[in-house]
């Protein structure tokens, strides 16, 4: 069965200062290098056991695809080595090098031949491939008229038709629809149960958490973390939201004079990243009151991006008055799913809490302590300030001020839980007779 061992694996691309430099290097008998090496991966070490499911994560450009290409053998390592035992089936960057003029069936044939299968073997597998791809008449139409999802369907179907020792999937599923993704996950699971080693690149952390036992997290051309899926995914999410580098230079403002609740940390630092997810930046507010920062903290007060159902999260907003404003302002907090659909609203006025009158230069500090009712999912937080609850005018508004995800309970995961809320339910089942 398939195992993968990487020893000091690295990949560098040659960069020439100009086109002639390469020619000179080729022709010059003195063997002098005239290129600079650009390392995209350096000193990668890991070992994947047979039958293991391993996720590979990292931001775009972290070197994930390059790593997979070296494992597959399409690209040669520049340093170190990668030892692959077993037959590899790989889906790199959507599709398997399909020829656009040939039909899905012909391409499936070609892929089978490339995998070293004989014609009659492919013949026998074809009905299964066609059924799994499930694209109807399109299977006998040229691939050039396929949607990217259809290509992914055929490619995945072909790659997994004969159970390989190692299956490598590079974001190939992301273009498929929900139903197909679910089907793929099932097949990957069943292959894995039969002993196939699976290497899986995805940006869908839920899939990774659900499917992989260990995760390799690449960052800046090196291994940032390698280990238990949950922990590495948490680290990745923390890194993504920048929770680890909140120390930003402070903007000088006058000392706060307004009284704020004693337990609230009075931090008047302006977070420059606060509005990076607000499209356009112009929020249409009057900015008489302005958000300086917005933070999500755990019960202990340290920044966090993930929690479990029932955990206490503290949402903190620091608001600066640019002008004198009367009392009565209310601050909105909306928690939405990834698509922006509002799931929960906790505006301060619902709880009869309002901002006091503020003089220019003063700050107000608002904190919500909320026990998270969600059982699973990824969420974003929007916040806004209005002079009074029914006003159409905003003082200020920030979209996607923060993100957090709720890590589902293992017991729920095992039961393939799909939803945001998990509630107690009385269930009665009866049958005839």
């Amino acid at each position: 069965m398939g195992s993968i061992t990487a020893n000091g694996l690295g990949k560098a691309y040659k960069q020439y200062s100009n086109h002639w430099a390469r020619l000179v290097e080729w022709l010059d008998p003195r063997d002098k290098a005239r290129h600079a090496l650009k390392w995209v991966l350096k000193d990668i070490n890991f070992h994947v056991e047979p039958g293991e499911a391993v996720g590979v994560i990292g931001v775009n450009g972290a070197g994930k695809s390059t790593l997979l290409k070296m494992i597959t053998g399409t690209t040669q390592p520049s340093s170190g080595s990668v030892e692959v035992v077993g037959r590899v089936a790989a889906l790199l960057e959507l599709g398997m090098g399909f020829h656009p003029e040939f039909t899905g069936r012909q391409n499936a044939y070609m892929a089978g031949q490339l995998a070293g299968l004989q014609e009659h073997e492919i013949e026998a597998l074809m009905p299964g491939v066609e059924a799994f791809a499930d694209i109807g008449d399109y299977f006998d139409k040229p691939v050039r008229i396929y949607s990217s999802g259809m290509q992914a369907r055929v490619a995945f179907s072909v790659a997994t038709a004969v159970s390989p020792d190692i299956l490598i999937i590079d974001e190939a599923l992301s273009v498929g629809d929900m139903a197909f993704q679910a089907k793929c996950m099932q097949r990957m699971r069943s292959l894995q149960e039969q002993g196939t080693t699976v290497l899986f690149v995805s940006h869908a952390l839920n899939q990774i958490r659900q499917f992989c036992s260990r995760v390799l997290y690449l960052s800046g051309g090196g291994v940032r973390a390698w280990g238990e899926a949950d922990k590495v995914c948490d680290l990745y999410q923390n890194d993504l939201s920048g929770a680890n580098n909140l120390s930003v230079p402070a903007v000088q403002v006058k000392a706060a004079t307004a009284e704020a609740p004693a337990e609230l940390a009075r931090n008047r630092e302006r977070d420059p990243d606060l509005r990076k997810n607000s499209v356009g930046g112009d929020t249409g507010g009057t900015l008489d009151l302005e958000f300086l920062s917005f933070k999500i903290l755990d019960a202990g007060g340290s920044p966090t991006v993930s929690c479990r159902a029932g955990d206490l999260l503290r949402f903190q907003a620091t608001i600066l008055a640019n002008r004198d404003v009367p009392e009565g302002g209310s601050v909105g907090l909306l928690i939405a799913d990834k698509t922006g659909y509002h799931l929960m609203a906790c505006n301060t006025n619902y709880y009869d809490r309002h901002l006091p009158a503020l003089a220019a230069g003063e700050c107000a500090y608002v904190e919500w302590g909320i026990r998270i009712p969600f059982a699973a999912g990824e969420f974003r937080v929007d916040s806004g300030i209005k002079p009074e609850p029914f006003s159409a005018v905003f003082y200020d508004r920030v979209f996607c001020a923060g993100f957090f995800s709720v890590v589902p309970d293992v017991e729920l995961l095992k039961r393939n839980f799909g939803g945001y809320l998990f509630v107690d339910a009385d269930i009665d089942i009866s049958a005839d007779g």
């Binding site: 691309y13 040659k14 086109h19 390469r22 020619l23 080729w26 290409k69 597959t72 053998g73 399409t74 690209t75 040669q76 590899v88 790989a90 790199l92 960057e93 599709g95 398997m96 090098g97 020829h99 003029e101 040939f102 012909q106 044939y109 070609m110 031949q113 490339l114 070293g116 299968l117 004989q118 014609e119």
Partner: protein
């Protein structure tokens, strides 16, 4: 070296499948389908014969027969066509199949092999027709016809040696492909295909041995027009050159195969 051939043999299904699919897809959306494969070369043979043998009344110096010139022409044009197809497709095969090379791991030498096989299939069809024409018009050269086999073998070796060399270079220096496209035109005209070598001034004829294609094309013409055996010593010279080119091509290929994918 042996491992290379074993790998190619293991992928024979892929190679054969590719040749078959290419043949099919060429005529996929046409009503007459594979008939075009025959009609295209047939029309060419008819044009050459009518224009040069009937209309222009050209005759080869020293050779009798109405069809002598058109046979001379076909012997050159058809074999040149085989050479030109293999070289020009060989020099682009790695670039054209970049998508495949980047996503799948397979013996990359399959690609030039497919180029040769495709060229030979097309050549076999058109040359088969030409042979039928020779027999029908009573111009079949007889036993020397067998000499075509080694001559064509040398030509294919020369073509693919050159094709792989240019193909590897073309990945790194795209100028190579552009330049060779132009050069091929000149090469066609400095090779005695349309005209017989005998009309050249003595001084130029002495330089002809520098052009390996002239040797090979002339050998074909000798066989097909005069029904005589070719000058084996000169063909052997080109054979040595072809072997050297193949060796050079393979060496270049093996040295840069890894880097090639990074450039595509």
């Amino acid at each position: 070296m042996l491992g290379m051939f074993r790998a190619l043999w293991a992928y024979r299904g892929f190679i054969a499948g590719n040749v078959k699919r290419e043949f099919q897809s060429k005529y996929r959306n046409s009503l007459l389908g594979a008939a075009w494969n025959v009609l295209n070369p047939l029309s060419m043979i008819i044009i050459y014969t009518v224009i040069f043998s009937q209309v222009m009344r050209t005759k080869l110096p020293g050779v009798d027969g109405t069809f002598a010139y058109s046979i001379h022409l076909c012997a050159g044009v058809l074999t040149w066509g085989l050479f030109a197809e293999i070289v020009s497709r060989g020099q682009n095969t790695f670039i054209d199949n970049g998508n495949l090379l980047k996503k799948l791991n397979f013996p990359r030498l399959c690609l030039p092999v497919i180029v040769v096989a495709n060229g030979l299939v097309n050549f076999a069809i058109i040359f088969g027709l030409f042979t039928a024409f020779l027999i029908a018009t009573g111009n079949f050269p007889g036993l020397p016809f067998l000499a075509l086999l080694p001559v064509l073998l040398v030509m294919v070796a020369f073509a693919i040696g050159l094709g792989i060399t240019l193909g590897v270079l073309n990945v790194f220096f795209r100028d190579v492909g552009q330049f060779f496209g132009i050069f091929l035109n000149f090469w066609f005209w400095i090779t005695p295909i349309v005209y017989p070598a005998s009309i050249l001034p003595e001084r130029l004829r002495a330089l002809m041995w520098l052009n390996p294609m002239a040797t090979l094309v002339e050998a074909c013409q000798t066989i097909l027009v005069q029904g005589a055996w070719p000058d084996w010593s000169r063909v052997a010279g080109v054979a040595v050159l072809s072997a050297a080119l193949c060796a050079l091509g393979l060496r270049l290929f093996r040295k840069h195969a890894g880097e090639m994918v990074d450039e595509l």
